[in-house]
Amino acid sequence: MSHTVLVVEDEPNIVLSLQFILRQAGFTVRVARDGEQALRAIADYIPDLVLLDIMLPKQDGFAVCEAIRANAACRNVKIIMLSAKSREADKERALALGADEFVTKPFSTRVLSKLVKEIVATRRTILPTK
């Protein structure tokens, strides 16, 4: 059974590229276009990993990350945050909120694909303290 990755991203072309590389890597890909869609998707089906953009309509990536971590059912969901803002402050905030990794756009498809595989393979051991 393949792992499922939820892509949360509002730029259609970026979604297109992510879908392509993730499917090639053998993942099942679901897509959400904004924060609310993302939370609805998670309530519906818990993915193994979420690729989460920060600049999103309606609810931004930080809020979605926080909501996932607050949900006990999502204890084992891994989160990789994506951002076109390369500010250190954003990276620290993302990690503090419980993201497993932080990737800056533009990213290398090869590196990202490899990173997703590695993260999915690890067991989550550290629960974020609220």
Partner: protein
């Protein structure tokens, strides 16, 4: 009438006066004063009306008609129009316990004995003629009454009735009377209730007797005023009671001015009005009561004068004695006696008050300072000096009257009463500059007052007193006729060749010119000492200083209470001082111990009390002898005052500085806030630029790698991915173009090509560029442009850019199902207005301003992310603002946003430019 009767009546009258004074004094001691009311006060001020008024006015009116009047106009002016000056003088006298006019002037100019002495000398010499006038009138009236024969009515007998001169007897009798009255106790600034009551009583007597004679003459001898004046006119006397065109106006002016000065500066008027004033508020009634008294006592002057002229027609009768000779002529002996008592009261009241006032001055301002200097006299030992003070005063009174008698002997035989009086007035007027200047001008100095007074007095001596001696034969008459040593320029009645004026005007002109001139110029040139400045301030600002006790806290000595009590006791009397100190302690609710060191208030109190007895100048010296060694750093005090004011000024400047600093700090804080805001804006801008650049780059890189890594992808996918790459590249290019445009516009480096632009053509061109996009999104465009649209002044390409931005925005946000966009143009007065309206959701109300900001993207209200850099509207605003228009957005009622902007019409713009 026998001399015995007249003498008896005279002494009975004087005895009555004394009884009144005693009775009132006793009542006052039992705290039941009778004299404390404005009516008694006003009557006492009527001491102004002396024999001069009683006899002399009639005499003057008999020869010169209305010329007797100006002497009463002056005082009336002062009391009615300028009573403020009295309020001020009285307040000063009370605050500083002033005892006389000499004390007043000396105290104002630094409490120095020299000035007080000079004022005293001028006052004594100046009053001499005045007292001689009273003596003459009493003596003459006595003689007339005693030898009331037909002949005596015409010529006052000059041979003595008793074995010595009648006038001398009168002088000595009056001196004794004044001594009995005025020197019973020592503190001159305490009120002499009995004296004031007696003087007020005398004012009533002289008024009543004058009215009695007047009524007898007017209604007894004639049938009222009309009859009397008609009969006088028949005899050709009408010039006396009509105002003639050839009247000597300069003399009227002079007499009015003189009497204005005299009512303030005559020592006795100053004494009775200011020093003896029990209550400032009495002045309110006095301002009209006193002029009323003057009016009433003058009503019958002309009738009596005319009756005298009619009765003694053609004979050289002494007109000054009409008050007596007219009743005697008509055999009214009792009335004549009554009139004699009136004249006696007029004369005695003046002599008593003048003698007391002058003796106080002589004692305090002349003798005491000399005694203090004369080391041979052990005045600094602890003897009781009250007896010495009283003796000095009694001798002074006697001396003053003897001097008056001497002047009588020398000069007054040859003058009328009024002429003698005016000489005195002119002397008193010399004080006016020093007094009036002293209470209104802080800069007036001791040297100025000294010089002015001295010179004015010398001129008075030279132009009035010495000539009167010469005319009586005591100096060679050539002194008047040819000038001293034959120098005609120095002739005393026409000094420096000034002719054409009467003697009085002449003398007043020169003495006042010299007096005021020296007073003013020397004051300006000389340096004031510290105490002069302090006293000057205390006098001029008396209303401001009255209620605080800081006044004269320049004593910083360490005298004990016992020292002070002993010192003051020597001059005022031990028991009275003990009582006064006890009251002082009780008033302040403190417990006084003898060995206790006196504080500044205590020292001040002691000095004032001492000043009340011996004058301010002497008191200061005496205080200095007790508080010796540790005190009187007046210059130091003044320096401290100066420093205090400097400190105040300095701290004021500090306050200003600190206010300035606060303002500067606030400005800095604002600027800092603004900078922070700008910084965060810049931060935000860079972050947004980064985001907007990275987003298309992300797709470019991703698909580039995918295509490289996956040669096996289908052709279809390959084409799709390559199209993405092209689209994102275009997006990136446009973004960079817009960023550069915006940066250039904001920096003012844009190359604008302004021209007259046809708006319709520009819009059509923009719409043509958007045709593809419109069709792709299936949006209906409706353009309404009126015909004959005026041109605008704009950059054509940028105008098209604005239209493209607005319409492509509208395409993005309009209703997806049936998109519809209206472009409407309307011509306004100065502007063309263009509106672009879509049928989308509209702009949230709180965003209508923010949509025009850079990188504002409506992230929250669309399902799909809109394509755009977030710079389009910002650029539109830059362009429109530059062209001189405005841009804004409103929401339509049925939904949809309506963006509008204006551009100036080129025709209007040209007109405005040419108008400028």
């Amino acid at each position: 009438m026998s001399g015995g009767i007249v003498l008896t009546v005279s002494f009975l009258y004087l005895g009555l006066l004394f009884a009144i004074a005693q009775f009132v004094d006793l009542r006052a001691k039992k705290n039941r004063p009778l004299t404390r009311n404005p009516y008694i006060y006003t009557l006492s001020i009527a001491v102004f009306c002396t024999s001069w008024t009683f006899y002399g006015s009639v005499g003057l009116a008999a020869t010169r008609g209305l010329d007797f009047l100006p002497i009463y106009l002056g005082p009336t002016f002062i009391f009615v129009l300028w009573s403020v000056i009295w309020v001020k003088i009285i307040r000063i006298c009370k605050v500083h316990r002033i005892t006389s006019i000499a004390d007043f002037i000396a105290s104002r100019y630094g409490k120095r004995a020299g000035l007080g002495g000079l004022v005293t000398i001028i006052a004594v010499v100046g009053t001499m003629p005045y007292i001689s006038l009273q003596l003459k009138s009493i003596a003459t009236s006595f003689r007339i009454l005693v030898s009331s024969s037909e002949k005596a009515l015409l010529h006052a007998p000059s041979e003595p009735i008793f074995f010595i001169d009648t006038t001398l007897i009168v002088a000595v009798a009056l001196a004794l009377f004044a001594i009995l009255f005025g020197t019973r106790h020592i503190d001159a600034s305490e009120h002499h209730e009995g004296l004031v009551a007696a003087i007020a009583f005398e004012s009533v007597v002289k008024l009543v007797t004058f009215l009695a004679v007047g009524i007898f003459v007017t209604y007894g001898l004639f049938n009222g005023f009309t009859d009397l004046f008609a009969r006088a006119a028949e005899k050709g006397l009408d010039p006396l009671f009509t105002v003639n065109s050839d009247s000597d106006y300069s003399l009227w002016m002079t007499m009015t001015v003189l009497s204005m000065a005299a009512i303030i500066c005559l020592p006795r008027q100053f004494y009775i009005t200011a020093v003896e004033n029990p209550d400032e508020s009495y002045l309110r009634k006095t301002t009209w009561l006193f002029p009323l008294y003057l009016l009433v006592i003058n009503i019958f002057v002309l009738p009596i004068a005319l009756a005298g002229r009619l009765s003694f027609d053609g004979t050289p009768a002494d007109a000054d004695m009409f008050m007596l000779t007219v009743p005697l002529y008509y055999n009214q002996g009792i009335l004549a006696l009554f009139a004699f008592v009136g004249g006696l009261s007029a004369a005695t009241s003046m002599v008593i008050v003048a003698a007391i006032a002058l003796s106080t001055m002589v004692c305090n301002d002349l003798i005491m300072p000399l005694l203090l200097r004369w080391k041979g006299l052990n005045i600094n030992k602890n003897d009781d000096l009250t007896g010495l003070l009283l003796t000095i005063r009694r001798v002074s009174i006697l001396l003053v009257l003897i001097l008056g008698y001497a002047y009588y002997l020398i000069a007054s035989e040859s003058y009328s009463l009024v002429t003698i009086g005016l000489v005195s007035f002119a002397a008193a007027a010399q004080f006016a500059p020093a007094i009036i200047g002293g209470i209104f001008w802080k800069g007036a100095s001791y040297s100025g007052a000294m010089t002015g007074l001295g010179l004015g007095f010398l001129v008075w001596l030279y132009t009035l007193l010495l000539p009167s001696f010469a005319q009586s034969g005591w100096l060679p008459i050539s002194f008047i006729e040819n000038g001293p040593w034959g120098i005609t320029l120095l002739k005393p009645y026409t000094l420096f060749g000034m002719e054409g004026f009467d003697r009085l005007t002449h003398a007043l002109f020169w003495s006042m010119l010299v007096n005021i001139g020296a007073y003013w110029s020397v004051s300006l040139m000389s340096q004031q000492t510290a105490i002069e400045r302090i006293q000057g301030t205390l006098f001029v600002d008396v209303f401001g200083h009255t209620n605080d006790e800081r006044d004269s806290r320049y004593w910083r000595g360490s005298a004990t209470v016992a020292d002070l009590q002993q010192l003051v006791g020597r001059f005022v009397g031990v028991q009275r001082v003990a009582q006064a100190f006890a009251n002082f302690a009780a008033d302040r609710d403190i417990n006084l111990r003898k060995s206790q060191t006196a504080d500044a208030t205590m020292l001040d109190f002691a000095e004032k009390m001492l000043a009340g007895a011996i004058g301010s100048a002497t008191a200061r010296v005496m205080m200095g002898s007790v508080v010796k060694g540790e005190i009187v750093g007046l210059d130091e005090v003044y320096r401290i005052l100066d420093e205090t004011s400097q400190v105040i000024e300095y701290s004021h400047r500090l306050e200003q500085k600190s206010a300035e600093l606060e303002r500067a700090t606030a400005q800095l804080r604002n600027a800092n806030e603004r900078l922070k805001e700008l910084d965060s804006l810049k931060d935000h801008f860079l972050s947004m630029v980064s985001h907007e650049l990275r987003t298309p780059l992300t797709s470019l890189r991703a698909f580039g790698e995918i295509l490289v890594d996956n040669p096996e992808v289908s052709l279809e996918e390959r084409e799709q991915f390559l199209n993405v790459i092209i689209k994102e590249s275009t997006r990136l290019t446009r973004l960079i173009d817009q960023l550069l445009d915006l940066a250039r516009m904001e920096a003012g480096q844009m190359d604008w090509s302004l021209d007259t632009v046809d708006m319709a053509a520009a819009i059509h061109e923009a719409m043509a560029a958007l045709a593809g996009l419109l069709k792709e999104n299936d949006v209906a465009l409706n353009v309404q442009i009126p015909e004959a649209l005026p041109t605008v002044r704009a950059d054509r390409d940028q105008l098209i850019q604005v239209m493209i931005n607005l319409v492509s925005n509208a395409i993005k946000f309009c209703n997806k199902a049936n998109g519809k966009i209206d472009v409407v143009v309307a011509a306004g007065k100065d502007m063309l207005q263009v509106s672009v309206t879509d049928n989308g959701k509209g702009v949230p109300e709180n965003m209508t301003e923010r949509v025009f900001e850079k990188f504002h993207q409506s992230l929250d209200d669309s399902e799909d992310k809109p394509q755009g850099s977030g710079l389009g509207l910002a650029i539109c605003r830059e362009i429109v603002t530059f062209l001189g228009g405005k841009i804004w957005v409103v929401n339509k009622v049925g939904g949809g946003a309506s963006f509008s902007f204006t551009v100036p019409r080129s025709d209007r713009l040209d007109m405005r430019l040419s108008a400028e």
